[in-house]
Every structure is written in structure tokens, then in C-alpha cells.
């Protein structure tokens, strides 16, 4: 056995946009154990539900994170709608599905850019983020916001898209798809990129199940778990099937996210074809009754939980948000065991950590 050394990684590190700390126990250059610590910026937003009315709380929940804010808003309002037994109009559910998939696209493109930056491919990083701007522009055009959208409300959505807007959305995404194909080739075929991802940080299917991994982490290890299969939104009508890879390494996680971007474009195209005319919201009367509802949304990083507990007043008793990165922390520690010290930054990045979500 070699000499053991403990190297602190983070909470401030060039590869981390947000703070998380790992104590890496090394034997020579090999990581034998990784002990994570979080909570450097924990905000306790869940507690605010005691002081914000259930209709206002959506503004807080959306601000948990600037990357998956639409999904957070949708998860929250769906949990309250479930609690109150509200049936949302079909058109609103289609619009939510379209915006959520746009959110997934911009999140995955952001991650791909960060990955390129982490292994030193600066021009690739810039090209990917240029494409991401296209999606943010579409968000601005359809919701008025680029980061926080505030279009989801209990009972439906606040904004509609007319036929011309929907058609121009599809047209822009088709154009973007062509540009994305060039970048995909670099991510998946370029030797210098593959050297840093193929066979690195393998999470086996058994380990992924043992660690209760979610999202692309689980899907890249062969686990077909995706909460879009639970029937919320309009995913079943769109014929959704999850993207699965089996290698379990950093390359497989990259492939899953890239394929999910293409899949999101396809889902949006289908949704635009199928979206019915009709109202985009229903009036909300009364307050959430005593009871509880647990909603799940497939965020770009995986399954997120929204647990709403009502007490018959306009203030909920409890709002619990369990975010995917929080669930993937055990899988990260498992994945780091046995890897080289130089691969740690890439591996930490391949779980696509969102500490803002984790520190809700």
C-alpha cells in the first residue's frame, strides 16, 4: 500500500462554478476515497413557504436555480395542482412541455461548453455556448425572460404562443440542429476529446442502482429511469422513450446529454404539430386542502421531487424540493474511487453538478 495523502478539492476550484468540497484520499496518484461536503451557501428557501402564499411561492421556487428554473416552477405548480385536484388545460400542458424541453436543451448545451472548457478546448466551448444563446433568445421571445421565466402558475401558464411563433420556433431549432451536428462530431469523434472521456469514471449499472443515481448519470449506466415516463405533461402523447447508454463512463454521459438535445428538438417539433387550441389556464378557487402530493419532474440533471403539504390555509405546511444533484452525490463519491487524480475535475463535471439546486 502506498502512502496516503488527503488533498482538499474545492469549495473554490477552476472547474467548479459553485462551491462543493471533496476530501480526496490518495494512494500515490489514485483516489481511494472521496468525502463530499456541501452546504456552503445553503439558503433554506423551502422554509419560505410558511410566509408566502401558495400562489406566490412559485416565484421563490423558480429562483432555486437559474439553469433549471422552468422545471422547478412546473414541479411546484404541479404539486399544488395535484393537491387541489386542478385539471390543467391541454394547451397549457403542451406549452409547459415545450418550454421544459427548451430548458433541457440550454442546460445540456451549457454543460457541454463547460466540459469543453474543462479539457481545454476553448473554441469548442465558445461554439456550444453560441448555440445555447439561440435557445435563450427563443425563451426571451416566448416568455420575456432568459433565466427566470415566471410563465408557470397554479392552474396553467401566463403566456400563450401564436401559430407564427410556434412555426418560427421549429424553424430556428431545425437550423440549430444542423449546426449542432458539426459540434457533435467533435465531441464524439475527436481523439483528443475521447482521450479524456472514454473509459474514464465508470459507474456500473449495479453501482448506479446502489447509489440511487438519477438522470443522465443513471441513463448512461443502462438504467431506464426517467420521470417523463410517469405520464405528466404531454410526454406519453409525444411517444417519449428515454435515451439509454450502457458503458457508464464519462463518454456515455456525454452521449446521453447530446442525444437528449436532439430528442428535445424532436419532442418540440411533435408538440408544435399536436398542440390543440383552447384556454391556457383555469381559475383557481379556494386554498390547498389538508393533505399532500408528491410530484416528480425530469430536470436536465434527473429526477427532482416536489412535496407539497397543505393545511387548509393559503400557506402550505411544507414544501420539500429534492434536487437531482443532491441525489447524485453518493454516485459521485463511488465513481471517484479508483480514478486518477488528474481526472477528478472532469469526473466532478460529468455529474453536471448544480450546487445552486443542491443548496436550495
Amino acid at each position: 500500500m502506498g502512502k496516503r495523502t488527503v488533498i482538499p478539492f474545492g469549495p473554490q476550484h477552476p472547474v467548479l462554478p459553485e462551491p462543493i468540497h471533496l476530501d480526496l484520499v490518495l494512494e500515490d496518484e489514485i483516489v481511494v476515497e472521496a468525502i463530499p461536503s456541501i452546504g456552503f451557501i445553503h439558503r433554506g428557501l423551502e422554509k419560505l413557504v410558511e410566509k408566502k402564499e401558495f400562489t406566490e411561492m412559485v416565484y421563490i421556487i423558480e429562483r432555486i436555480c437559474g439553469i433549471c428554473s422552468f422545471g422547478h416552477g412546473w414541479g411546484y405548480v404541479s404539486s399544488v395542482e395535484g393537491l387541489m385536484g386542478i385539471q390543467v388545460p391541454d394547451r397549457a400542458e403542451y406549452l409547459r412541455t415545450i418550454w421544459h424541453e427548451m430548458g433541457r436543451m440550454q442546460s445540456h448545451l451549457l454543460w457541454l461548453g463547460l466540459l469543453a472548457d474543462a479539457f481545454g478546448f476553448e473554441s469548442l466551448f465558445m461554439h456550444v455556448w453560441r448555440l445555447r444563446e439561440t435557445v435563450l433568445d427563443l425563451f426571451e421571445k416566448t416568455t420575456g425572460g432568459r433565466i427566470i421565466f415566471s410563465v408557470c402558475k397554479v392552474g396553467g401558464v401566463r403566456r400563450d404562443m401564436d401559430k407564427e411563433t410556434l412555426q418560427s420556433l421549429v424553424k430556428t431549432l431545425k437550423k440549430m440542429k444542423v449546426e449542432l451536428e458539426d459540434l457533435t462530431e467533435v465531441f464524439l469523434e475527436d481523439d483528443s476529446v475521447k482521450n479524456r472521456t472514454v473509459g474514464v469514471g465508470i459507474l456500473t449499472k449495479e453501482d448506479a442502482m446502489e447509489c440511487c443515481a438519477v438522470g443522465p448519470m443513471a441513463k448512461a449506466s443502462g438504467i431506464a429511469h426517467d420521470t417523463r415516463l410517469t405520464g405528466h405533461g404531454k410526454y406519453m402523447e409525444l411517444g417519449f422513450q428515454p435515451v439509454i447508454e450502457t458503458a457508464g463512463d464519462s463518454y456515455a454521459r456525454t452521449v446521453v446529454r447530446i442525444r437528449e438535445v436532439y430528442q428535445s428538438i424532436d419532442l418540440i417539433e411533435k408538440a408544435v404539430e399536436m398542440i390543440p387550441d383552447g384556454p391556457i389556464d383555469v381559475p383557481v378557487k379556494g386554498t390547498p386542502p389538508k393533505g399532500e402530493f408528491l410530484m416528480r419532474i425530469e430536470q436536465p440533471r434527473g429526477e427532482a421531487i416536489y412535496y407539497a403539504k397543505g393545511n387548509g390555509t393559503k400557506f402550505l405546511d411544507r414544501m420539500r424540493v429534492r434536487t437531482p444533484t443532491f441525489s447524485n452525490v453518493p454516485a459521485l463519491t463511488k465513481m471517484l474511487q479508483g480514478c486518477g487524480f488528474a481526472d477528478v475535475p472532469i469526473l466532478v463535471l460529468t455529474i453536471d453538478p448544480c450546487i445552486s439546486c443542491t443548496e436550495r
Binding site: 452546504g39 429511469h225 415516463l229 386554498t287 393559503k314 453518493p330
Partner: protein, 152 residues
């Protein structure tokens, strides 16, 4: 048949002494641990253990006094350490035999156990600071929320 499994909301009561055994049974059946969360109730805490099998959730509710110590399930689901340490740090829920115990240092908080229910004598003072809770018959009209809409 249309799959609407997200509408299945099963909540079963569970005794504190059965937490570990139940976790073992669910693990043997192939369930995945989804989350553990705590709420403050008059009796102390209400813990919610959520498991998933084939996209259907199964929830167990455990009601317990504030000072009771319960069995950790990290021996069954190792990944439960993130949830148990979170509950320990924020609520002061006490667990026995945790596989990975940060001893209150998983989260960095300004004060220890910020969400632990206050003892009755101090709770009365802070109750006065809370907004008045009224039984509403109708939610406030959305048109009055223009200030928040402007945030977008």
C-alpha cells in the same frame, strides 16, 4: 393503457421501530430510495421515506418525538447518508448507526439545527412574527401579482 403513475400517491404509516426492516424489505424487492424528508408536526417530526419501483412511488410516514433516536438505513441504502445528514443538520433528527456521519458538518449553517422546532416557551414569541393565517375561500386574483411578474 395510458400511464399516469405520477397520480399514484400512496402514503402508509410506519412505526419508528420498523424503519430499518421496511428498508430491508423494499431493497430486497428492488425498490430505489428516492428521498427522506422531515416536517415539523405537533407530536415532533413527521419523516417521509419515499421508494420507487418501475416509476411508481411508495411513501412511508413516521411520526416521532423530537428527542427520539431512530435507526439509520445507511446499512441498507448507503446513499441515504445525504438525506440523514441533512435531517440531522437542519432538524436535529437523531440517527443510530449511520455509516457516514458528518456529526453536524454536512451543511454549513450559521446556527445549529435551524429548523428544529422551538421549545414551547420561545415558540410563543416567534409565532407573533409569522403572518396572520386566515382561512381563505378564494385565492388572491392573479392580476394583483404584477410586481412579481415584473421580475421576469
Amino acid at each position: 393503457m395510458e400511464n399516469r403513475s405520477f397520480l399514484v400517491q400512496e402514503f402508509h404509516p410506519l412505526e419508528t421501530g420498523m424503519i430499518y426492516e421496511t428498508a430491508k424489505d423494499r431493497k430486497a424487492e428492488g425498490y430505489r430510495l428516492v428521498q427522506i424528508c422531515a416536517s415539523v408536526v405537533p407530536e415532533g417530526y413527521e419523516l417521509l421515506y419515499t421508494y420507487d419501483l418501475d416509476h411508481v412511488l411508495l411513501n412511508y410516514k413516521v411520526t416521532m418525538p423530537v428527542d427520539e433516536e431512530i435507526m439509520s438505513i445507511t446499512g441498507v441504502y448507503w446513499s441515504a447518508f445525504v438525506f440523514e445528514n441533512e435531517l440531522q443538520d437542519l432538524f436535529d433528527v437523531k440517527f443510530k448507526h449511520m455509516d457516514l456521519n458528518y456529526g453536524g458538518h454536512f451543511y454549513t449553517t450559521n446556527e445549529p439545527h435551524p429548523w428544529k422546532p422551538e421549545p414551547p416557551e420561545t415558540a410563543t414569541e416567534s409565532e407573533n412574527e409569522k403572518p396572520e393565517v386566515k382561512e381563505e375561500t378564494e385565492a388572491a386574483p392573479e392580476e394583483t401579482k404584477t410586481a412579481q411578474e415584473g421580475d421576469a
